[in-house]
């Protein structure tokens, strides 16, 4: 299945370079956690993940066609 991924900020280095890119998953379903594993994105710098603009848990399943945005941790304010 095909999804759109946005790796925000410093996490973009785990993708092709551009923050936003298309990604093919050779499976009919896949959890957020599995997706991050596939991309070699470590979990410790991840703040949260949204699917189509809604914050989700790591065990949320993707079906295809979603926009997945991965946000980095921030300090201060």
């Amino acid at each position: 299945m095909r999804i759109t991924i946005k790796l925000r900020g410093p996490l973009s280095k785990y993708g092709p370079g551009e923050e936003k890119f298309e990604y093919n998953i050779n499976s009919s379903s896949c959890t957020i956690e599995e997706l991050l594993n596939m991309l070699n994105v470590p979990t410790s710098p991840v703040l949260f993940v949204t699917v189509d603009g809604n914050k989700v848990k790591m065990d949320t399943e993707l079906r295809g066609g979603e926009i997945v945005t991965v946000y980095p941790k921030v300090a201060g304010g």
């Binding site: 710098p45 703040l47 914050k55 980095p72 921030v74 300090a75 304010g77």
Partner: protein, 584 residues
């Protein structure tokens, strides 16, 4: 080697300056920066002092790492009694002033009294002069810095603009045009002393204890920690990244905190800012370079930071990025705290729309919005009232329930109804509503903790406050998320002894309690630790936090638990046992 051992004390009444020994015992107990500045002020100020009188003191305080290549160590603590709140006030300014002061040979500067005519202070190593600032008075900070640079050359300057001169409780101090010691009216402390600017050049250096060992250790720490994925948000995006996070969590202040979601957020988020980004800027010894230098066809600024975006854009119903950048640049030149300025303008907008008092400005009115910094700083037109911040405006005209301040300091960019711990943090911060003493959103609104409960929040806020207190005393910049273990490791390289994380936590607790003791002496207690009634009574209107409010009983629960954990009584006063434990 970590301290020069010298404090410069300047008396503006007599026009003289002398060097005295740094109090070493206090330096041991409080490290430097925030903690040591507060200790000096606690010992030297009489309770009840008028913050705009000659009896207030302005302290510039470095830390044990200042001037070294320790990452993110380049900031300066600036402290005084706050004209806005009457509490203790410490600010933190970046750029390059602190290292220059250290190289000039001083750990700190203490400025006393009031000059008869406008002056600026010039420090070049042993040479200390008070020069006439009569030609500079009435200028913005930007022209002031340029003029001083023309006559003195390569110096670093702290300056005030018209807002500080005109004694606005929302006036700040600026440096290198776009960096500030921002809150609590610190700029008006200089203004009240007729002190227009402070410029420094230091030609000395610091003794490095085994430079090879220290460099190797610091380079390793920089690569593995300071510049790891968890901290590089500052380099990749800077604080505008937080706009998306707050919008997603429903805690982006919108139209004077009537809502937590703003329909125009995409025009003011980090992607929008990157669209006009020209260069990154860093402070001394910082590899993160969080500064965004932006330029449009019509204006430029180093910024806008998240707080400016939140309080001056969404909070004012403005989604015009160019207008925001210009508003930011004007505030930086006049030297207005953008949090307080944005909040005051938003309050004026709501009062106008509700028919309570006509300030002639409504949410989204870009043209009037851009006139506000000038009107406020010069106390002209509607600015004459708005100059004094939301608490003063509410006292005069009403709308107290939605004058968004705690202890008269305007609330920063995180909606407490979507992050209950943030609400507690605002209520219990030492200088009034502040997000830099404890910052719960990453764990709550952006994290896994339930944001809409009091559960566990008191413990979290206490820990964060103590951590930040020692962090700002050692002087590490807020944006490096480092553990107390790491702080201890870096400090131990320079202070001539091994210091432990536990010792640092104790110092943090001591600093935080000392600031509370200062405030207690000024008459503050539980009654002053509450939020505006809007938070307890009004429901948010849309987005992820639609319908949310913070019930007062939940807040009371958090507050009581907070005092208990702190070892304070039910009135929020420090117990004798706790004072003894901390050596206060």
């Amino acid at each position: 080697m970590a301290y020069t051992g010298k404090v410069l004390r300047v008396n503006l009444n007599t026009g003289s300056a002398k060097t005295e020994e740094l109090n070493k015992q206090w330096a041991d107990e409080y490290l430097g920066g925030k903690g040591l500045a507060i200790k000096y002020l606690y010992e030297e100020l009489q309770p009840g002092v008028d913050p705009w009188s000659e009896d207030n003191k302005l302290i510039l305080m470095t830390g044990p790492l200042t001037g070294t290549i320790a990452p993110n160590s380049g900031k300066l603590a600036v402290a005084a009694k706050s004209p806005a709140t009457g509490t203790i006030l410490d600010c933190s300014i970046g750029g390059h002033f602190a290292p220059q002061l250290k190289y000039a040979g001083y750990d700190a500067v203490i400025i006393e009294g009031k000059a008869k005519m406008p002056v600026y202070l010039y420090i070049e190593d042993d040479k200390v002069e008070l020069r006439s600032a009569e030609a500079l008075w009435g200028q913005g900070a930007h022209e002031t810095e340029h003029t001083i640079a023309e006559s003195l050359g390569d110096v670093v300057t702290l300056a005030i603009g018209q807002a500080g001169e005109n004694l606005l409780p929302i006036a700040c101090i600026s440096s290198e045009l776009y960096r500030q010691a921002g809150r609590g009216g610190i700029g008006s402390v200089m203004g009240s002393k007729n002190l227009k600017a402070i410029s420094v050049r230091g030609t000395g250096g610091l003794d490095a204890p085994d430079i090879r060992k220290v460099s190797t250790a610091l380079n390793k720490i920089k690569k593995e920690d300071t510049m790891d994925d968890e901290n590089m948000w500052a380099y990749s995006d800077g604080t505008p990244m937080i706009v998306e996070l707050s919008q997603e969590a429903g805690i982006l202040p919108t139209r004077n905190f009537q809502d937590g979601s703003f329909e125009g957020y995409k025009k003011i988020d980090s992607e929008a800012v990157k669209g006009v980004l020209k260069a990154k800027k860093a402070c001394f010894a910082c590899p993160l370079a969080c500064g965004n230098y932006v330029e449009t066809g019509k204006t430029m600024v180093e910024g806008p930071e998240y707080e400016t975006i939140a309080l001056c854009s969404s909070n004012c119903g403005i989604d015009d990025l160019e207008a925001l950048i210009e508003f930011n640049r004007l505030c930086d030149d006049y030297c207005l705290d953008t949090i307080s300025a944005g909040s005051t303008v938003a309050f004026a907008m709501e009062l106008t729309e509700k028919g309570i008092h006509d300030f002639g400005i409504r949410f989204g009115d870009v043209e009037k919005f851009l006139q506000m910094p000038g009107l406020m700083s010069r106390r002209e037109g509607v600015g004459a009232d708005l100059a004094d911040g939301v608490a003063a405006v509410a006292e005069k005209y009403g709308g107290e329930d939605f004058a968004m301040h705690v202890k008269k300091l305007e609330i920063p960019g995180y909606e407490p109804r979507g992050s209950f711990g943030m609400g507690l943090a605002y209520g219990t911060a030492d200088r009034g509503a502040c997000h830099l003493r404890a910052w719960p959103p990453p764990l709550e609104a952006f994290g896994d903790m339930d944001p809409f409960t009091s559960e566990g929040k008191a413990e979290m806020v206490v820990e964060m406050q103590d951590d930040n207190a020692v962090k700002f005393s050692a002087i590490f910049c807020d944006f490096w998320a480092l553990s107390t273990e790491r702080m201890a490791e870096v400090l131990s390289l320079f202070i001539g002894r091994e210091i432990t994380a536990d010792e640092l936590t104790e110092i943090g607790e001591r600093v935080y309690n000392l600031s509370r003791l200062f405030n207690e002496r000024e008459g503050f207690d539980r009654k002053d630790d509450y939020l505006p009634k809007r938070i307890y009574n009004d429901k948010l209107l849309s987005g992820k936090t639609e319908g949310k409010l913070m019930p007062l009983e939940e807040y009371e629960k958090m507050l009581s638990e907070y005092y208990k954990i702190r070892g304070w009584d039910e009135d929020g006063k420090i117990t004798e046992a706790k004072k003894k434990e901390l050596g206060l």
